[in-house]
């Protein structure tokens, strides 16, 4: 009974792990994959968001109503760099949107929307979570004073605080009540809903053509927002789907093998039942019901564990993305996954019983020995001992050995991949050199200070650096990070050249691979960008570079051309400072003064997002490691279960614990060695390069695991194998030898 309980426990553990993995993948994939659509629907996200310099609302309305296919629009005033304070929390870069009539473009996720009463504020959910704000609490807005928080909002047009600036909404009507109504208030933001979003491009062309008089036009489209968010979520979803498939394959192979072994063990009993008239269907049903008894609670526990492990981190990630948690929408998929986690082991149990019951009862009654084992491998027992025997016993079930080694190999490859990914994230976050940045410091100093800075000991080069945001003039959906240096920018930033050549004149630009792919740009093409000021800059693409900055949506342009088109770009001026090899960054920083700061990595600003991604990857890696451990233990246990008599005969002849461990070690080595080789090869040759392309096709990103990472994973695999050997050997040697030889 105890042995049977242990077997059931092991089977249940496998089902629970598979269910946990499946559900975890489902939660994250569904949340991230459909999050934007859900959020856009809940918020009634506009098709076009237009920002412009302040203009009278009547004039803006006149422009909008002249456009074709307009279903609705709302105008608002967006006030930036506002100080916000709640308790000890403070930010001086707040974004206050004064909303007027018309659709809101955000969803209220707690509390209620703004009324026309003064003193009310709706706070973005990400800000509320980060600051611990409650509905009914207060928020101090500079210029408006203390406002009562009436609700929390989510709008997926941008990521949330702390990835973006804190955003709150106040009512225009309330301000009118308090400060007196204005006849023709100034607005600088319009949200537009189309009757048919398929007409977006035509409307945009029309909007640009009829926008005469509006300054600083910047368009953001719903599809543009979606592209950016989809790319961020894509890596995680692909990883999780692949991992859940591995877990399912592992569980499927091992559960089917386990069920087969169990049926093999019961062949005599099946023969007796067949002899007294039991039908095949009845015997298969009995086996299925027994399996259901284990699978249903195990799948439930696994599914709940999977939800608990991932719902929290995913929910935090969704808040940062300004997207709602899936909630009840996830229920049908979860129920389907739960049913699948039950159905697979039940079918895996019923099928071999059905097949076995089809054999003649006389044959079944004759005994429950396994079929003839293969003469596996060139090893002879004269040269090797129990370890070789163990390997041969495992090798006798060749199909299962291959399937289990393959699933272990895939698991190993994915653990390696995640380690490599974590290293890459760390490197990108902390090491500007990983991005091709050659300057180590920045200083918030005017361009005129560059000559002086160059005289500071340890400084090799210093030049003004301009960085500003722009959008693609044609589709307006792509945001572009424009970087400019006077002269040769490769002294300070030299992202690898993919095609073409470096820019030479005032009319040329280098574009990142991400931008090149998004806009279909190649050397010789024209890059047309709309700058923050509304001015347009047209440059010939001289070359395409690999860059991770802004997802590769960058353009290196001559500073002269940028400043000529948009003199306000000099407002963002800073000095890039490159140090001499071996120079002390601390000494130069001290000499530069308080405005000096170290150069940041690509995702330095996205630390919370990276942290959430890391926690998800970590959770998945742990589950993956557990799947490996489970596969090894189950493989060992199956070897013992199927070769119970063999092991018992060995024990009868005097084999103690060490001998059984050596036997099992052989079985584990037969699994682990090919799995490790497969895992390393798979990661280095297939998955690493594939994920590098998937994750950042706009940059040459190495995701090949390092030797240290490979050594760590192989050591972990060996440790898992050792744990499996010791645990199963311990369980085996506790069994009575006579019982084992009887094979019952």
């Amino acid at each position: 009974m105890r042995v049977r309980r242990r077997r059931s426990l092991l089977t249940g553990l496998g089902i629970a792990l598979a269910a946990a993995m499946l559900v975890a993948a489902l939660v994250v994939s569904d949340s991230l994959g459909f999050g934007f659509d859900r959020a856009a629907k809940a918020a009634n996200l506009p098709d076009i968001i237009v920002r412009f310099n302040p203009e009278s609302s009547s004039r803006v309305a006149q422009h909008i109503t002249a456009l074709p296919d307009i279903a609705a629009y709302s105008l608002r005033q967006e006030v930036t760099s506002v100080s916000l304070q709640a308790g000890n929390q403070f930010a001086d870069n707040g974004d206050v949107e004064v909303v007027g009539t018309g659709p809101r473009g955000y969803a209220i996720v707690a509390g209620r929307d703004l009324s026309s009463r003064p003193g009310e504020v709706v706070v973005e959910k990400g800000l509320a979570d980060a600051w611990g704000l409650k509905v009914g609490g207060t928020l101090d807005i500079n210029g408006l004073g203390e406002q009562r928080i009436v609700g929390f909002s989510e709008s997926p047009d941008n990521v949330s605080y702390p990835l973006a600036v804190p955003r709150v909404y106040v009512s225009a009507a309330a301000l009118d009540t308090r400060f007196g109504a204005q006849a023709n208030p100034q607005v600088n933001l319009a949200e537009i809903w189309l009757r048919d979003p398929a007409n977006l491009n035509e409307v945009l062309v029309q909007a640009r053509a009829t926008s005469y008089g509006l300054q600083g036009l910047r368009f953001v489209t719903r599809s543009g927002v979606r592209v950016l968010l989809d790319q961020a979520a894509g890596i995680v979803i692909d990883l999780l789907v692949a991992l859940s498939l591995i877990a399912l394959a592992t569980a499927g192979v091992l559960l089917a093998a386990s069920a087969r072994a169990e049926v093999q063990r019961r062949l005599r009993a099946i023969g007796v039942r067949r002899a007294v008239g039991a039908s095949r269907g009845h015997l298969a049903l009995v086996q299925a019901l027994e399996s259901l008894f284990v699978a249903a609670p195990a799948a439930t526990v696994g599914a709940v564990a999977g939800v608990l492990a991932t719902y929290g981190p995913t929910g935090r990630l969704l808040v940062l993305l300004n997207e709602p948690a899936p909630g009840a929408a996830l229920a049908p998929a979860l129920i389907a996954a739960w049913l699948a986690a039950i159905a697979i082991p039940v079918l895996a149990a019923a099928w071999p019983a059905w097949r076995a019951a089809g054999r003649p009862p006389v044959g079944l009654l004759r005994g429950a020995e396994l079929g003839r084992g293969r003469r596996a491998g060139p090893f002879s027992m004269r040269r090797a001992g129990l370890t070789t025997l163990g390997a041969r016993l495992a090798g006798a079930r060749r199909t299962r050995l291959i399937a289990t080694a393959a699933t272990l190999g895939f698991s190993t490859a994915f653990v390696l991949l995640m380690l490599a990914l974590a290293s890459a994230l760390n490197s990108l976050e902390t090491d500007p050199g990983a991005l091709g940045k050659r300057y180590q410091l920045t200083a918030n100093l005017p361009a005129s200070a560059a000559a002086h800075v160059r005289t500071i000991p340890g400084v090799q080069a210093a030049a003004p650096r301009y960085e500003t945001q722009a959008v693609d003039s044609f589709s307006l959906g792509e945001t572009i990070d424009v970087i400019a240096y006077p002269g040769d920018h490769t002294i300070f930033e030299a992202p690898p050249l993919v095609s073409g050549r470096r820019l030479r004149g005032e009319h040329e630009a280098e574009v990142g691979l991400g931008l090149s792919q998004a806009l279909g740009l190649s050397p010789g093409a024209t890059l047309a960008i709309q700058l923050d000021s509304g001015a347009e800059l047209r440059l010939r693409v001289a070359g395409v570079v690999s860059s991770l900055d802004d997802d590769g949506r960058v353009a290196y342009v001559p500073a002269g051309a940028l400043l000529a088109a948009d003199p306000s770009a000099s407002d963002e001026e800073e000095l890039a400072v490159r140090l001499k090899p071996g120079a002390s960054a601390a000494a130069v920083t001290a000499a530069l003064g308080p405005s000096a700061a170290p150069a940041t990595g690509a995702i330095g600003r996205g630390v919370p997002l990276v942290a959430v991604l890391r926690s998800i990857l970590r959770a998945v890696a742990i589950v993956d490691g557990l799947v490996c451990l489970y596969a090894l233990i189950q493989a060992c246990a199956l070897t013992v279960q199927e070769r119970r008599r063999t092991v018992s005969v060995l024990r009868a002849f005097g084999a103690g614990g060490p001998a059984v461990r050596r036997l099992l070690a052989g079985a584990v080595v037969a699994l682990v060695v090919p799995a490790a080789a497969l895992g390393v090869a798979l990661e280095r040759l297939v998955l690493g390069p594939a994920l590098a392309r998937l994750a950042a096709s706009y940059v040459t990103l190495s995701l090949g695991a390092s030797r240290l990472e490979i050594a760590i994973v192989l050591a972990g695999l060996a440790l898992a194998g050792a744990v499996a050997v010791v645990w199963v050997a311990h369980q085996t040697t506790r069994e009575n030898v006579i019982t084992g030889m009887a094979g019952s």
Binding site: A652, F653, A655, G656, N736, V737, I738
Partner: protein, 231 residues
């Protein structure tokens, strides 16, 4: 000094209403070079007695001394070592390992940790002596029952044990092969051999025949009257 000394062995099987004292105060000595046959009906407890004598199971009461070791007091590890060095088993179902050749099966106990040296040399000699040279490279399913049982006997002897325990060694064999196997067991010199069987033919080769009935062991006299071996 006997190779095997059993005193007051008691073993109960089953629980509750199904509980049954299958061995009741059994005592038995077996000397080196002696062949003892234990006869009894199916379910009389013959195999249970053999398992207890070989240290595969533990009695509820009593003492068993094997080659000078009190195996009823030994821990599992020491008991395994005693089995390895002092006991050889022959089973009715042969229990040869399918993946291994006949020779590899014979060698297997000699490859266990703690086994004495010369296992390989002894295995080769035994294979020769038992007339198995030609079939030693074949796998069990390619062999007849008699050949398999002879390989099993060679396996039982490969560590040169003082005691050989045979559980229904002819149970799966035809008459000719059964006779060959019994003759083989009879020919084992210097060793104590205990054969448990329900087949009276085994009695013909034994130095001493014991009957197990109602949990008690009785000796068979020349006059055919059974007496209690010990109590």
């Amino acid at each position: 000094m006997p190779v095997l000394e059993a005193r007051g062995i008691v073993k109960t099987l089953g629980v509750g209403r199904a509980e049954r004292r299958i061995l009741d105060d059994i005592s038995l000595d077996v000397e080196a070079g002696e062949v003892v046959a234990v006869l009894g009906r199916s379910g009389s407890g013959k195999s249970t007695l053999l398992h207890l004598l070989g240290g595969l199971d533990r009695p509820d009461a009593g003492q068993i001394v094997l080659a000078g070791h009190d195996i009823t007091r030994q821990r599992a590890r020491a008991l395994a070592k005693t089995r390895l060095r002092h006991v050889g088993f022959v089973f009715q179902a042969f229990h040869l390992i399918e993946e291994l050749s006949g020779e590899e099966n014979v060698l297997l106990p000699a490859r266990l940790p703690g086994a004495g040296r010369d296992g390989e040399r002894r295995a080769r000699r035994l294979i020769g002596e038992l007339g198995l040279t030609e079939i030693a490279g074949r796998r069990p399913h390619e062999l007849s029952g008699g050949e398999q049982q002879r390989l099993a006997i060679a396996r039982a002897l490969v560590n040169d044990p003082e005691l050989v325990l045979a559980d229904e060694p002819t149970g799966n064999l035809d008459q000719d092969n059964g006779a060959t196997v019994l003759a083989l067991l009879r020919s084992l010199r210097r060793r104590a051999v205990v054969i448990v069987t329900h087949e009276p033919e085994a009695a013909a080769i034994a130095d001493r025949v014991l009957h197990l009935h109602d949990g008690r062991l009785r000796a068979e006299t020349a006059a055919g009257v059974t007496l209690r071996e010990s109590a």
